[in-house]
Symmetry: C2
Subunit: 88 residues, 2 copies
Amino acid sequence: LSSSSVSAVVLRPRRRMVVKAAAEGINPEIRKTEAKVVDTVVVTELSKPLTPYCRCWRSGTFPLCDGSHVKHNKATGDNVGPLLLKKE
Amino acid sequence: LSSSSVSAVVLRPRRRMVVKAAAEGINPEIRKTEAKVVDTVVVTELSKPLTPYCRCWRSGTFPLCDGSHVKHNKATGDNVGPLLLKKE
Ligand code: FES
Ligand code: FES
């Protein structure tokens, strides 16, 4: 064999890709300039008999619940809902 | 040139993979048998001057906050925190 008829081609092996999800945040948008979003409710000042507070981080009226958890649950299969403050 | 000196090797192109995250739920573990996790607090029954309620869905004492939001925020870069119910 002449040397010109011998060729070696190194093929990259088919890589197995493992895509690992990083742990995800749960608040995409609310008050992201704050290091920690904490809200205080003085319960004696509640005006309505029942006031829902958001725990889904999707409400347009955060910290109050505006019902956005319904859309979030439908889109993701999640099961989150508000905390209801009851005056009674 | 003799034919034996010519070789064609077809290399698979380097694939560009785009991994798109689906919208994610925010509650991995709490009461997943319930369609929607809603809790009610009768505010007149609060015993302490200040009671923190969980909004991170990581508390071991849900619906109360046990401080687990700190670990969640560190692990993910998130900025979530509890709702504080203040008695007066
Ligand atoms: S809008 Fe967030 S819990 Fe209802
Ligand atoms: S443990 Fe969830 S907000 Fe503190």
